[in-house]
Amino acid sequence: MLKKSAANVAGLVLALFFLFPTYWMITSALKPKGSTITSDYDLVPFSVTMSNFVTAWTKPGFLSSLGNSLMVTLTAVLASIIVGITAAVAMSRFSFRGRKSFVLLMLVAQMAPFEALLIPMFLMMRDLQLYEHLTSLVLVYFAVTLPFCAWTLRGFVNGIPIELEEAAMVDGCGRWGAFQKVTLPLLGPGLVATSVFAFITAWNEFLFAKVLIRSQDRETLPVWLSGFQTAFGTDWGGAMAASVLFTVPALVFFLIVQRKMVAGVTAGAVKG
């Protein structure tokens, strides 16, 4: 089976290619100060320390930007999920005039090129006196994630047989009771998956965070990290430790829904 082993070798080489930056980030973060910037060839760390993490953690701005990022991201995602789920239920469970146009609007809104709306967003936030306020970022991230959340949740609600709700209503539940006791629990996994994607989108966002917030105590983690050369100079160990700390929440959330992502992409697509 020469062919199979050739394929395996190629697979391992590719795995190294994908792993290396992560490996390099972590090992650079673990190297003691002074041994990161060296002309020696140091593919494997000679000694290991946690001091870079302490440096990054205590850097001015790290904790506040971490807090800002968490606050903005979680608020926006929560709002998107709540508004998204009401819209999803309306689109999926009711028939009414204009339903189709609304579904279409959701679909089109998902494709809105937000980067190209930078200027009007900036002007609008300025007019609303929200420039330099984290509220402006919450609003933008809410807008970016809402169509996606509503659309995806609609798919999940569609997947729950309406008969279950009807049965509950026959048994004496009100419409709200039936939704709350039957549909909502079944929607759990869908809610988790959707909110994780929304989370990662907002967690990553850089352009609006850079434009709408100028003052340092309000900036989010991506913007803080983009100025790492001001914060760390040539302290690459510290910069790598900060990158690790930035990656951990995203990676944890990512692993939660890993399976759903792969199944989900194809579910809607491989019909033709």
Binding site: K4, A10, G11, L12, L14, P21, T22, Y41, V83, T86, A87, A90, M91, S95, F96, F102, M106, L107, Q110, A112, P113, A116, L117, I119, P120, M121, F122, L123, V140, F142, A143, L146, T152, G155, N158, I200, N204, F206, L207, V211, L225, S226, A242, S243, T247, A250, F254, Q258, M261, V262, A263, G264, V265, T266, A267, G268, A269, V270, K271, G272
Partner: protein, 333 residues
């Protein structure tokens, strides 16, 4: 009437939020028993209201506003004084007559085509390769791809800048170890092309996992007996791919290519953190140019014109994709 549509329980993937395409717009409406009451009839609209208001306010209004702004002279002075100065097509004339704009547009298009081509091509190869791997190698490859995918853009960009560092970067050190002395102190960010190549590598590296995973799922959807039949008929690997795999994954491949094009065309963060569009503007793309004109120079009207031109290009790509989609699906949607 109450058939359950399982095909739409999709949670599309990606660090960004990809739209779940192609859409099955029809269906899904469950007829409820009419129950006359005014509240019941108003209920769906009440449920939709928050989302509708949010979309019209936070997406619809900016879209209109970007067009309106592009016909105004709006620099810092006008903004502070609150003046409204209409200039007709002046902003567009200024942009379209600017040689830099055409250079940047061409650069953006070439960059997008290269990044999309390489990442989709590599994603497809890896998807096909994964089928042939032993179990543990496949798992190893998938886990490492997940790591790359999950890394926040700013973190991965910082790591790449460090790896490609002129004096202490591991890449230059490795190349010197391998005997390529000329890379000792080689600056990867000395020219626009070289900078964009590194940025492109970063984007490709992070884009491949999504592409490979979704295409792999598509490849897995191909019935096994088709491959067996092809094997019995003595088809070569290429013939098998053309006749068996290709028809099954064509629409999926088209979709991910389309999505990648939309994403890569608008890339800002990666390009900005590497060199801020430099050296001397040589790695500036349309997204960066829009930022520089609008936010850095406070020429909001001109920047809005660039935004509109970007939207037109993206709109044309979307239109082409949807047209192709409708052709291949023969109006099934």
């Amino acid at each position: 009437m109450t058939a359950v549509k399982t095909t739409e329980t999709a949670a599309p993937a990606g660090g960004k939020t990809p739209p779940a395409l192609p859409p099955a717009v029809t269906g899904g409406a469950r007829k409820r028993r009419r129950r006359g009451g005014a509240f019941d009839r108003a209920l769906p609209y009440l449920l939709l209201a928050p989302a509708l208001i949010a979309i019209l306010w936070l997406i619809g209004f900016p879209v209109v506003s970007v067009f309106v702004t592009s016909f105004r002279k709006l620099n810092l002075g006008e903004l502070v004084r609150g003046e409204i100065v209409w200039t007709g097509l002046d902003n567009y004339v200024a942009v379209l007559q600017d040689e830099r704009f055409w250079t940047v547009t061409l650069r953006t298009v070439v960059f997008t085509v290269a990044v999309v081509g390489v990442s989709v091509g590599a994603g497809l190869m890896i998807a096909l390769l994964m089928r042939k791997l032993s179990g543990w190698v496949r798992v190893a490859l998938q886990v490492t791809m997940l790591c790359a995918w999950a890394m926040p853009i700013l973190a991965s960009a910082t790591v790449y800048i460090w790896m490609f560092d002129q004096n202490y970067g591991i890449l230059n050190k490795t190349l010197v170890q391998l005997g390529f002395e000329q890379f000792n102190g080689h600056s990867w960010f000395g020219s626009g092309t070289s900078t964009l190549a590194v940025v492109g590598l970063l984007i490709v590296w992070q884009a491949i996992p999504f592409l490979a995973f979704s295409l792999y799922a598509g490849v897995l959807g191909v019935p096994r007996d088709l491959y067996e039949a092809a094997g019995i008929d003595g088809a070569t690997a290429w013939q098998t791919f053309r006749a068996v795999t290709w028809p099954e994954i064509k629409s999926l491949l088209m979709m991910v290519t389309f999505l990648s094009t939309l994403w890569d065309f608008k890339v800002f963060a990666q390009i900005w953190v590497f060199k801020e569009g430099g050296p001397s503007g040589e790695s500036t793309t349309l997204a960066v140019m829009q930022y520089l004109e609008g936010i850095a120079k406070s020429h909001f009207g001109v920047a809005a014109a660039i935004s509109v031109l970007m939207m037109i290009i993206l709109g044309l790509i979307t239109f082409q994709y949807l047209r192709k989609l409708l052709q291949t699906e023969e109006g099934k949607i």
